[in-house]
Symmetry: C3
Subunit: 364 residues, 3 copies
């Protein structure tokens, strides 16, 4: 508990925790103040995501590399998962899908690009582990292919096409989860030596005791779920009154909010010249969402959602995911980076964000 308080004292982001009760109070007093509730819930999710990430790492640090890796591998995107689950159970499938695609793009472009830029502004040229980065980028590229197939093939409408897309999405979800599990076996068991650099993420000394960590993990997950409910409820109307398109909200806003905690780690790694760590977080997180979070959401939609959710996205989102994966492959194949590489990758992200921001409703 003392450790938690000291952590809060040193990490200004955690001061925002004070907004968590404020969200609930505001929601019960003014349930129609959508824009206010939207802003408050975004700001309240940031420190919760940070705590979740710290707690996952602490449990990981205490349980040894394999179990820890497994935990990070499944809970590393817990915030994204909880937000998406909330949207899923309220039937907002468009928001769920946009936030999945957006999170993949945000991780592989924004997080990677900003890491290159922030690191490159301090260090002339930075090197990173090519082999590991290439494997992550390949994994991401191949996962993207799985996600784009339903959208690419099922152009036709009608009942036959809908049944086809549903069956295909279910089958693909199974394949993706199997690939993901085999990937964990590969990176944590048979070929762990290739992934050495990524281990630096959690230092056992700074970690919280096991009990605290698990308690925090539980409590904070519930809090994220509750705040997410307010967030999901208010996001559409708030976006409208702020002049943002629904595509922009799901793809950009939700994705950046959900990934804030990992971004903080990736950026701090880049500035400390540990770009290996930043690349591993960015690409690892992106492929985790594609290979694990997305199919889990499809499967859970059969239990939690009003109807089964498929993996079909609008064509623009597919194109952006594909470009993001190709860009990640391209910029990491070298094993070196300088600030301008970061500018270029960020520029692609800004192009996407601008396009979605300007997109007239109904064109997506």
């Amino acid at each position: 508990m003392a450790k938690l308080l000291s952590e809060i004292r040193h990490n200004p982001l955690l001061w925002l925790l004070v907004l968590v009760p404020v969200v609930f109070v505001a929601h019960s007093l003014r349930p129609d103040a959508h824009t206010l509730l939207f802003a408050l819930s975004v700001l309240a999710i940031l420190p919760l995501a940070t705590l979740l990430s710290l707690a996952t790492e602490s449990v990981g640090a205490k349980t040894g590399d394999t179990v820890g890796g497994l935990l990070n591998g499944t809970l590393g995107n817990l915030t994204e998962l909880v937000i998406a689950l909330t949207a899923l159970s309220s039937g907002q499938y468009m928001l769920v899908k946009a936030s999945i695609a957006g999170a993949i793009v945000a991780n592989s472009l924004f997080m990677l690009g900003a890491s290159f830029l922030l690191g490159g502004m301090k260090h002339h040229v930075q090197e990173f582990n090519r082999t590991s980065a290439r494997l992550q980028a390949s994994l991401l590229f191949l996962a993207t292919i799985a996600l784009l197939i339903p959208s690419a093939v099922a152009q036709a409408d009608g009942a036959a096409a809908a049944a086809f897309t549903e069956k295909l999405s279910l089958g693909l979800s199974g394949l993706l989860i199997v690939s993901y599990a085999l990937g964990l076996v590969f990176s944590l068991k048979t070929h762990r030596e290739f992934f050495a650099a990524a281990e630096h993420g959690h230092d056992a000394e700074d970690a919280w005791p096991m009990g605290t960590a698990i308690a925090i993990l539980g409590v904070v997950t519930v809090l994220v779920a509750l705040v997410s409910e307010v967030f999901v409820e208010s996001v559409q109307q708030a976006a409208e009154s702020l002049g943002m398109t629904p595509a922009f909200v799901g793809f950009i806003v939700v994705a950046l909010v959900g990934g804030a905690a990992e971004m903080a780690s990736a950026f701090s790694g880049a500035r400390k010249n540990r770009l290996d760590l930043s690349v591993a977080i960015a690409l690892g997180s992106a492929s985790q969402i594609a290979l694990f979070v997305a199919p889990v959401l499809v499967l859970l939609s059969y239990v939690l959602g009003p109807t089964p959710m498929d993996l079909r996205l609008w064509p623009g989102a597919v194109l952006m995911m594909l470009i993001a994966a190709l860009t990640a492959v391209l910029v990491t194949s070298n094993g070196r980076s300088a600030w301008f590489m970061g500018v270029l990758v960020l520029m692609v992200y800004i192009i996407f964000a601008m396009t979605l921001y300007l997109l007239p409703p109904g064109v997506q």
Copy 2:
């Protein structure tokens, strides 16, 4: 002859040769038992393809590297060519095109992926000749572009578009054959030192005498043609009664049957830690189909087919070919492989197969 019998004794796949006469007997007795004839003809093609491949290699081993390379370069996909020619002369252009596209995808995903997986299950990390793999992958990528242009550009229907597609396909076929011939000059003459590893394929000691080899080549080609006729005649109705879509049959079944012999060589190379050989067979065979078999079929359609055949494919097939070529480029750029790389590449192939299997008729 003694050599041939000893070969048959040691290679269980060749025992299936007994099915060749069975196919012809069954076809004359029960010409409407489509499913039975389909199954028998598939099983009978496998040993014939193996013999064809052994005979080609034997002739190659006796005639020296350049002529041998040339023979392998033109007859290496003789089985695919004969099956496609049979389908061509009966006017089944959709089947011809699906089997071309499917063969390219099967070679660059299934054969490559399974080689990585089988090799990787025995050896921790395998290395292969990057320069040669990159050249093959580039060749394949560029051939894929030529094949996708007619489909990408000629979206419009109508007489003008049809005439345009026909002229374009003819021109592209000429360009592809010229590229292929120049590629043979490059790999067999001016820059043969880059392709050294692929030479190991045929050992002169084990080779059959010249006369035997040429006789087998002739007899077996005729047999493949005859069995193919039964196969092509029965495949559509058999597929229907087995619940397979026509796209699945052409793209997956025909392609795997036609390439079975090379796959056996590639997999055995991978397990013997000669991954160079496997990569050379997989990518070499894929680019040979794109650069040589496909344009030859277009040209022969003017002589053998009811109408000229163009190179226009359905959009899904184009996308799959493009993804297959990009995946091949991506996974071979490293020059190293481990089992999980194989899993990923196979996964892409399974995704394609699943999509085609589920595809409702009429959507392709």
Copy 3:
């Protein structure tokens, strides 16, 4: 002046300067002889482009590396810019866009491929600076993405879509120019050591004196503008009577004419085994057009054109640009080249040219 005359004596291309007055005389005597005027103006632009390029390099050589680099970076494609401006001010937006896309494709396929081929016919294997080539290719790839977004997203028609495309094109143009400026800072200031090889382009000894160079720059720019006017006026009707489609004229003819001077330098570099120089010219020029010329034309269309021009291209042009950029990435990632690489890259260009040549009007 003596230097200029000696230059003209040694460079047969410059003898074509005699055609410049011939163009103006022919235009005033026979304003309807479109095919003649087209041929004459093409032949007259070639020596003017060469002079422009020599003058820019001379000014660059005298002013030191940074200013020189900046000049080359902004005036290096002055011919393309002037031709496009002439077409822009006469409202021929289709021609402007085709010539932009065509110039990118011509530089990254034709110029690069022919350099590989010409160099490779003299030298067995040629090496070039991978790091610099990769950066240029990445820059080109990312610029291509920016250019394809408006076409990919704005499929829908109607007033809302048109307003969206216009706003988006304006925003993207701003982003591209900022990226380009930052790229100049990177290559000329913070990380100039990576780009050392490209410096060899201009030798201070051979350069003209400052005064001559600036005078030539001014006079020749005006001449190019005047000849371009005749060219743009005659090109459509000449193309029609020569049986060329408008797409072919803009994409292939105008692009090759505009880039002739740089091509001459790139090819001569390749034959002298300075492939670094050829790659830097080809990719540098392609990304300069994408990142600088294209957005400048969009911005100037608000001042000079009848209506604002957007960045929306026809789908075939987008596909060709994307394939060209991917091909450039692929073939330069190795840092080595042989003649067959050149054949392959040229083949892609020939495929594009053939497609555009055969394209029935109205299908583009």
